[in-house]
C-alpha cells in the first residue's frame, strides 16, 4: 500500500505542511485524530506509549496527555482546542506542560487539521506553525528521543546545552 504522504517545510514562516491519505472512511479517520482512546493507540512510537489524562474535545476544551517511556517516565503535552467543525476541521495550540497542564516552555505550535473524504479514502491536511524554529527543534528533539531513545545518548547533552544557555 503506497499512500500519498507529502511533507513540506517553509522555514520563513516556521510552518510544516503535511498531507496524508488514509484507507478508511472519514468517520473513522476523524475519530482516530480526535478520540483519546484511539489517539493513545497510534501516536506514540514503541516502546513508548501515550496516556491521556484529560480529553475535552470542544472549542475551548483541552487534551492533556503524556508520552510515557519504557521506564515509566511521563513527558506531558497539552493541546488547547481553538476551532472545531465536526468531521471537517479542528485547530489547536500545542505546548509542553507538566502533569496538570501548566506550560513548562514558552514555545508553542498552532496546528490545524483538515479532513476530506476522497472516495473510499480520507485525506488529512495538517498545518503546523511553530512560534520559532527553536520550538520546532525542541519538538523534534523530544520526538526523536521518544522514537530512538536507546541510540541517542548525545541528545540529552544537546538538550541540556539549550536549556542552560537560556
Amino acid at each position: 500500500m503506497n499512500q500519498l504522504f507529502d511533507f513540506t517545510v517553509n522555514k520563513d514562516t516556521n510552518t510544516i505542511h503535511i498531507t496524508r491519505e488514509f484507507a478508511a472512511d472519514l468517520d473513522l479517520v476523524w475519530d482516530a485524530f480526535t478520540k483519546a482512546e484511539m489517539l493513545d493507540q497510534w501516536l506514540a512510537p514503541k516502546p513508548w506509549r501515550t496516556q491521556t489524562k484529560e480529553m475535552d474535545f470542544r472549542e475551548g476544551g483541552r487534551w492533556l496527555y503524556a508520552m510515557v517511556s519504557p521506564e515509566n517516565v511521563s513527558h506531558w503535552s497539552l493541546v488547547e482546542f481553538i476551532k472545531i467543525e465536526d468531521k471537517s476541521f479542528f485547530s489547536g495550540r500545542n505546548t509542553f506542560s507538566d502533569e496538570n497542564g501548566k506550560s513548562i516552555s514558552s514555545g508553542f505550535s498552532l496546528t490545524s487539521n483538515t479532513f476530506k473524504a476522497t472516495g473510499e479514502t480520507t485525506t488529512v491536511y495538517v498545518e503546523k506553525k511553530f512560534d520559532s524554529l527553536s520550538t520546532l527543534e525542541m519538538m523534534v528533539a523530544k520526538g526523536f528521543k521518544e522514537g530512538m531513545a536507546m541510540a541517542m545518548s548525545n541528545l540529552d547533552e544537546y538538550l541540556l546545552t539549550l536549556v542552560t544557555s537560556k
Partner: protein, 106 residues
Amino acid sequence: MRRDIFQAIADPTRRAILVLIAVQAMTPNAIAEHFDITRQSISRHIRILSQCDLLAQKQEGREIFYQLKIDKMKEIDIWLDQFRKITEEGFQRLDQLLLTLKNKKK
C-alpha cells in the same frame, strides 16, 4: 559556551545576516549598513554566529571578512528530516489501527 545552529537562527537579525553573508563575504561594517541597529549589537550577533561555527573568516589587510559556512546550515535539514520520519511512522501505526478497526466492523 557551546552554541548550536538553532540559537543562531532563533533571532530575526541573525537570520538576515546569514542571508547577506551567504551570497558574499562581508566586513562587519558592510553588514551593519543593512541594519538599523547599533554596530555594537551587530558585533554581538556576529560573535554568536561565530560561536555557532557558522562563519568562515578571512583577513584582508586590516579588514575581516565573514562568510557563511553553508554546510552547517544543512544541520537543520537533518532535524526536519527526523521530524518527517517520526510523523510518517506515526501515520503507519494509524494505518494498522484503521485496518484492524475496519476488519472488526466486517
